[in-house]
Structures are given as structure tokens and as C-alpha cells.
Amino acid sequence: MTHWIIAPVILPALLAPFIVLAARYHIGIQRAFSVAGVLALIVIAAALAWHVSDGSVLLYQLGDWAAPFGIVLVGDRLSTLMVLLTSVLALFVLLYAIGSGWDDRGWHFHALFQFQLMGILGAFLTGDLFNLFVFFEVLLIASYGLMIHAGGNARLRAGVQYVLFNLIGSTLFLFALGSIYAETGTLNMADLAGRVRLIGPEETVGIRVAAVLLLLVFAIKAAVVPLHFWLPSSYAEAPAPVAALFAIMTKVGAYAIIRVYTMVFPPDLEVTSGLHDLWLLPAALISLAIGMTGVLAAKKLDRLVAFSIIGSMGMVMVAISLFSPAGIAAALYYMVHSTLAGAALFLISDLVRTGRADLELTPQPPIAGTALTAGLFFTGAIAMAGLPPLSGFLGKLLVLDAAFDADLVVWIWVVVLSFSLISIIGFARAGSVVFWKAHGLEPSNVAASGVRPTTLSYVAVGGLFSLLIAHTVFAGQVHAYTTTMAAQLFEPRAYISTVIETQGKLSKPKEDN
């Protein structure tokens, strides 16, 4: 049993208190330890991903207690990929926060950042539903602090909405867990997968309620319409690096849906039939439509990016709710792309804010460094709207291709293509108003607000773009890998047997089996 798999949880958990206790007044030391921690995380995550890329499943039994009794951490292809994606994203977000000085505008940015990472990484690695709830709470409570970092009335008001909405979501999660435990007597995902199948056809009322409640909870996290209302205000008002990190938080919801609804409630299960194709797919299509319409309707740049996040989550959820291996593979490819593109766009909107009074989509005098910023925005918009040559286009093609066998194929094609057009118009309008029309104005007070963003800020955004380009160039390899990932998800026997049959304390001796 390797201990490395718990390192992504332990390392931030130790770094955060260290930063609070030992380096409270020294922003330089905080920055150094934070960056070093994230770099170490990337190395560990890459090693873990490499280790499980042959299809094996890593298991870590905490305290050596055997699976249904103790808590387990499980690493397979999907969870290690998400861990790697999170830590790489965290590095560039952290570089931007340092470069733009956001981390110095309030207290404890780095400590909260590390706790946030601990929650996200733990949620990806855990193999236990209640533990998933606990890690959700860890990432949420850190995100409450990060969300209102640097204060301000508008931010606090948006923070209240965000916290209250998520508290209600957490309560719903507990109701779902209570009903699952009452029906099956276990909360370990691998154990649940076996027990849910044993429930007789007459006794499915409780487990049906539990499955729907759990889907609602994850849909809140993934901002699926009509449960998306928390997202636009909070992402737009949050400090830009925080919003960029939050780009991975919606994916935690998507990850949880993929994990639970391929293993515990698989699509062929009688109990939850109709949940995926009848409810989730239309909801995903509507979120795609509403998100992309929001891109066109937004009056501020940060809100535009927030709505584009909803739209891209809609695209991910469309691909997920197909619940076919091709659909999940496309969803995973698009998910990586949408995380990187969304984070980059949030950082770019902050680059714009550096030179302007506000982010209203009105013509204002040109900002300092406008050519470079405009170029970056152009690239980000191409990526997010899904135009060639970047990975958004390839991801969308994969989703459309996977949708061929679905019943609603016409609807999927129509909605995806027409609302992509709307988002292109939205991005083009925003870009031309912010960057192009600026040159028609008298450059009267440019000197007053002519603060150039630092080089490190540009490096962080450029790093995210280089990842996007790599994601496009190596699309064949990445998609081949996500296809093997989807195959592993739809054939969960290796996962289940690794979790259940590995010996530990309290497990039955071998000869009894």
C-alpha cells in the first residue's frame, strides 16, 4: 500500500496552518511556501496519474481499517487526472495572484488557498460518500473566505448569497446521505454499488428519493439550470484569481455525478432509469442555452465570463448525461478544456480591470498594454466559444459525435450549434466594445489609470494558454486516454474488488470468502 495517494490531502492540510502560524506577517515567506507546496503537488499528482495510467486502482485504507468500515481513498485514472488538473491550475492561479498582488489585499489568502486545494483534492480522491460531504464542506468553508477576500460591500453581499445557497445544498446532501444509509446501511461507494443492485423492485422508494436528492446536490455544485443561481453573482464578485480557481469547483460536481452515476447508480439500473435521459439531458441543454444567452446579455465582462462557465458546464453535462463511454470520454476532454479556458478568461477580465474604472461593457479609453490583453482575450474567447483551432472546437466535435446514438440527437445538435453561435456573437460584441471602440475615444485621462499589469500576471495567463494549446496539439493522445478512462468507469469491477477485497483490520479472513 503506497502512502503517496494521501499526500495531496495531507500536504495542503499541513502547509495551511504553517502559513497561518509561522508566516502570518511575511507575505514573501507565504508566497514561497504556497508555490513550493503547489509545485510539490504537481509532481505528486503527475506521479500518481502515471502510476494508475495502466488501469490499476490505488487504494489507501486510513488507519488500515478494511473498506466498508473504514474510510478509503481511491485513485483511478479519472480521479488522478482531476487531481493533476487541479494542481496545475492552482499553480497558474497562484502565480497570477502573486503577480497582480491580489494575495496582499487581505489576510490569509495563501492559507485559505491551501485549504481550498485540500478540499478539492480530497473530494476527487475519496471513495466514501460521507467523506465526500466532509471534503465538500472543507472546500466550501475555504471558498467562503476566499470569496470575500479583500472585502467590499458588493463582494460581501454576493458572499452572503453564495454561503446561504451552499448551506442549503449541504443540508440537502445530508438528507440524501441519510436516506442512502437508511436504505443500504453503507456509505462506501464500492460497497453501495453492490448493495443497490440487491434492493428488490418493490422497495425502491427510499433509494429513488436518495438518488434524485444526490443528483440535485451535485447539480447545484455543477451549476446546472435551474440550480445555477448562485454562480453568476459570486463568480463575478469574487477576486479574479479566486474565481479562476473556482472554475475547477463546478467540475467537482460534474466529477461526482460521473463517479456516483456510473458506479453506484449505473445507467442500466432499473431503480434510476429515466433520471439521466429524461431529466438530466434536458436540464443540461437548457443550461447550455441560458449560459450562452447570458454571454450575449451580460453588461459586465466578469458576468459574461461567469455565464460562459455556466454554458460550458452545460456542454459538459450534455456529454455526461449521454452516459455512454463515448459521451463520458468527450465530457472529460471538454472538462479539462473548459477549466483551463474559464480560468484564463477570469484572469484576463482582471487584466482588463487593472486599467479601467470598472468592467462595464462600455467604450472607455484604451487600457495600458491593450494590444497584448486584447490578443489574450481574443484567444480566450476563441477557446471558450469553441472555434477552431483551439481545443474547445475539438471538444465540441467530440460531444456532437458522441450524441449520434442518443434519442435527442437533433435537439443536442441544434442547441449546441445555435447557442455556440450566440456565444460567439456575445464574445465578439464584448471584445469589440472593450478593446476596439476604445481607440475611437479621446485618450484624455489615460495617464491617470495607466497601470500596466505585471509580467508575472501575463506569464500566468500565458501558461494557461500554453496548456490549452498542448491540449489541442495532443488531442489524439488525451482523447485516447479519456476513452480508456471512460472504459474503466463503465467496467467498475476492478475498482469495486480492489476496495472491498483488500485486507485490513476488521475484514473477514480469507478462507471465509
Partner: protein, 118 residues
Amino acid sequence: MEMLVASAIGIMTAGGIYLVLRLRTFPVILGISLLTYAVNVFLFASGRLTIGAPPVLRDSMSSYTDPLPQALVLTAIVISFGMTAVVVMIGLGAFLGSNDDHVDDQPTGLEDQAEGKS
């Protein structure tokens, strides 16, 4: 016994949802507290209600109550307690800053329509 616990959960949930829909910070926080009480009792009952039985294994006892929901509910209580404290602080900060305790966005700002009706 089952009737008593079930109706307690039901009444607390109903009251909690009513208060959450009031859209002012104070009633909403009270409503969420009621909801967390309800879910705590619900979690506690999810291991079946057993009267007068210990949750710890001993040699002389033959009937037990399920110990796991008690551990779960303890975690849930601690988390909801902490979260309520956080939301009270943030809500207080927002109220003192803008002298307004509406949870939803007010239609004064041009851009703030339509979102955030939590």
C-alpha cells in the same frame, strides 16, 4: 416513537423552508438552522430507532443500536455549527456595509437583475 420523530423532522423542515423563503438575512439563517436540526434528527433516525440499547459492543448485551449514524450526526452538527457562525459573520458584515439585509439582489443596479434569488 416513529410518529413523534417523523413529525418533528417534518415540522422543522417545513418551518425551515418557510423561513428560508423570507429572503432577509436573519430569517434565512434561522431557517437554515432549523433545516440543519431537522437533518440531524433525520440522520440519527437513519440507523433505525432503538430504545435503551447501547451503541457499543459488550459481551452481556444482545441488542444494539447502530453507532454509525451517531458518528455521522456528530460530524454534521460540528460542520453546520461552524457554517452558521461563518454565515452570521458574513451576513453581519454585509448588513453593516450596505445597511440592507435583503438576501436577493435588489433591482436598483442595472446589471444585477435576475440572478441570485437564493
